[in-house]
Symmetry: C2
Subunit: 403 residues, 2 copies
């Protein structure tokens, strides 16, 4: 059966374009809520296709496939940001309810559009520019100093599409492609941040919004490896300002569903080493936006009264939102990346035996080095101990720890 | 697709015979654990069939259907106790791994066998006998006093198959059928209990066991309507003795998976009104056994680190068991029975708006009066407030409360 079968009682069908782990992790909450999930999957063995009854196979780039899929759904939402605006426009013309809307999603698809819009709203950003030539890169670096951060406006994730460069030569290939495609490159100053934070919230079409506590995210080689919820020792004013900025972005951009705003918490020095004056300047800048459930929110599946996948479903259905309060003083999430255990099942038994309180989440994906294949959540009172436990479980599943 | 598609990495397929809500509620945990679920469903729109990709339709009474189903699974377990021993024996002969085993399951299928075995083990039971005739009923009542509790040994649930009778005439029809079928009737003394409790635990084939805190269950017209976890004001010794009895039953009977032991907590008077002497006598008796996830454990989905559906999967797969500790001081579960809202969705919106912390679980079942169609969990510090909240949410969904 690839068409969704509706539950009785007026319960809707939510369609998700893309069959990755984010769609997969909606399956449990959908079953609990009583709503039906349908997934447009890349393949029959996509992560989400393994766990939902309705998972037609088709590409998000194939307008006909997406329209046929959407015709069976009451609302369409996304596992990723890569559905082209042309395809989204056809859905809207067909009368399909799409959340987030194409107008909002544009700012998650195009980082230049995002920077332009956030700057116009006065939301703190690193200094940035659009570069179309080597001369543009040199000019920007002359202003903010080398190295600079170069980003392809579209299609990047997990550190892909991002380079920290010390000369224009290092992005010659990207400039050439950008010139062909007319897209330009995004250049940003390299911000000397203390740490990375994320604001995660959900907003419904009615305008109700609910934010989880601000978390700290730890990246390794551009990939998130650990999340601490809430962010330890976070200044209350900073937390309030960060959540405020997230809510403002969600409202101004008309975001519906879950919004993740990745932040750099700034050093008490400016990018060029000048001491900031008192509390005047913003103490964070926005790094990236994502308009879908996000890795920085996986902790909420076990650590909050309402997890991000349940909340995303509630939001896109315009149902009242659930409480985002934590269930424990601390939750630590450790990402599991593909490592040396193609036969993951035996490592998994070991991890369960060693730590009966660890919540191990696996995505049904084949192991490839560096691929996100699961995560582990642990909750409790002792942050240092939780970090050790999450780190050990994730490391063992990766094969990086063997005892 | 009705055959299960296996995830890579050596992850197993768990088959559940029966597509009711207990099978359905395994779907979320299975997706999280990375194991594949397959369900032998009564119909294409069975509760569980709406949420798992592999849900072939077939009867648990049809040996061929059950054997074909089991051939694709690494372990077979159950949504209910009604698979006949003849069918189970064929599975075992086929080499299928079945948990709980037919030998254990027999004591959940046949209440006379259960009473006989528990009595032999010295586990506290009400006084009981097997009756094959009106004379047997009269003789038992002469001993323990009218009224007596009559039970059909097989097929009862939620108060069905149970009558409290004051004369043999009131079970004349059951005696006639029992004589035809050679099964006998179970008679029990009517125990003057303080309240009902339940011990819930899981046991794995390796013999590891983990018990959740003892809960209080509140029944209305023979159907569970509310569960308080843990049972308020429960004597520590009684709790220990009850869990001990549950663990002993699980071990002696060789139970694998989740075991629910329903108890009566006794008044400090004996059944015939005589004061008990000191602390000598047992302060509880076993009422019923169930060898599967059970209504008395639904609170654990939100209220414990490891919920009963995850734990059942871990147990039948012989994976290490998870921590059964509560996540909050109190969790209250309110059952939602079918009422006056065939279009449940609008009532559900109302409940979500009124109580953003309520965890509403719906089963995708059509509304019929008295049918279990969902439940609501709320967790926190204030038991009285939680009872009000769970009661209001369940009552509103039932249509019994309209404001």
């Amino acid at each position: 059966m690839t068409r969704p079968r509706r539950a009785p009682g007026g319960f809707p069908v939510v369609g998700i374009v893309g069959g990755g782990q984010l769609a997969r992790m909606c399956a449990g909450p959908a079953a609990e809520l009583g709503v039906t999930l349908s997934v447009l999957a890349e393949a029959e063995d996509s992560s989400a296709a393994l766990v939902v009854p309705s998972a037609p196979v088709g590409s998000h780039l194939d307008a006909d496939a997406v329209r046929r899929f959407a015709a069976d759904c009451d609302v369409v939402t996304f596992d990723h940001e890569h559905v082209p605006q042309e395809v989204l426009a056809l859905l809207v013309a067909d009368g399909v309810v799409v959340h987030p809307s194409p107008d909002a999603l544009r700012f998650a698809q195009d980082k230049l559009a995002m920077r332009e819009r956030l700057s116009a709203l006065g939301v703190p950003c690193p200094r940035w520019t659009r570069a179309d030539s080597a001369a543009d890169v040199e000019a920007f670096a002359a202003d903010v100093g080398w190295p600079v951060v170069a980003k392809t406006p579209r299609g990047g994730y997990d550190g892909k599409g991002v380079r920290v460069v010390s000369s224009a030569d290092e992005v010659a290939d990207w400039l050439e492609r950008a010139a062909e495609e007319g897209t330009g490159l995004l250049l940003e100053e390299k911000v000397p941040f203390r740490r990375e934070l994320a604001v995660l919230l959900a907003r419904s079409p009615s305008g109700q919004a609910a934010a989880w506590p601000v978390v700290e995210t730890v990246q390794t080689d551009g990939v998130c490896t650990e999340v601490l919820a809430p962010a330890p020792d976070l200044d209350d004013d900073l937390a309030g300002a960060a959540v405020g900025a997230g809510l403002r972005v969600a409202g101004e951009l008309g975001v519906t569903g879950v919004l993740a705003v990745e932040l750099f918490e700034l050093d008490r020095k400016s990018p060029r080493g000048v001491e900031l004056e008192g509390d005047d300047g913003p103490s964070f800048v926005v790094n990236e936006l994502a308009m879908r459930p996000h890795n920085s929110g996986h902790w909420s599946m076990d650590g909050a009264v309402t997890g991000q996948f349940e909340q995303h479903l509630r939001a896109v259905l315009d149902l009242p939102l659930g409480t985002p309060s934590p269930r424990a003083p601390w939750t630590v999430m450790g990402n599991v990346l593909g490592g040396d255990h193609p036969e993951l099942y035996s490592a998994y038994r070991h991890v369960m035996a060693r730590d009966p309180g660890a919540k191990v989440h696996l995505y049904g994906k084949g192991v490839r080095p560096g691929r996100k294949i699961g995560h582990v959540n642990v909750s409790g009172d002792d942050l240092a101990d939780l970090r050790r436990r999450a780190g050990h479980a994730a490391g063992y599943l990766e094969g990086a720890i063997t005892e």
